[in-house]
Symmetry: C2
């Protein structure tokens, strides 16, 4: 764990999202997520007790915050901070190509 | 701080490397580095007491570890873990285009 390429091993025809830890240290987890058109269920909200910073590497997606009217559309290079317990969902991901996310989870484990 | 685009605001003709914090939380700092052909001085080694995870977003570069014979050449999507106190330097960065790095510094601040 630790060295590799974010764009390697991607199956554009995968039916499920792929989640893979790239690094895990006390207090920090770096994860690759590959989406192939998936979205969160309509009434589902992520509500997590730690901070998350996400970056779109390839493809496109939109994140919806419960407390905002507008979606946050994200393309390559766009990053977004998700504060602890800020309810959010993935409104859509690219149907035409894989969306590769980098997610940095901060303070996930409780001491 | 927190939301933006990693590829924005890049000056390909910059004479110096650009370092910019994108997120700073207890125990974690996420930084963008833009290199335009710079390298570490020939006998210079970084020797830092915390872990670092670097990802090349655009351009290319090579990292040299003091304890390895071969350089680690990095292109878009390549990531590398640098353990605390593992001495390293930047052997070269792309002369033809900006190299955009994402660096995640973990455990930098001492409690």
């Amino acid at each position: 764990m630790g060295d590799g390429n974010l764009l390697a091993g991607i199956d554009p025809s995968a039916s499920a999202e792929l989640f893979e830890d790239l690094l895990r240290l006390p207090g920090v987890r770096i994860e690759r997520i590959v989406s192939t058109g998936q979205a969160s269920p309509p009434d589902f909200w992520y509500d997590q007790g730690w901070a998350e910073w996400v970056l779109v590497i390839a493809g496109s997606a939109a994140v919806q915050f419960e407390d905002e009217a507008e979606l946050r559309a994200l393309g390559p290079g766009d990053y977004l901070f998700i504060a602890p317990n800020r309810r959010h969902r993935v409104a859509w991901t690219d149907m035409g190509q894989p969306t590769v996310w980098l997610a940095v989870h901060i303070g996930e484990e409780k001491p």
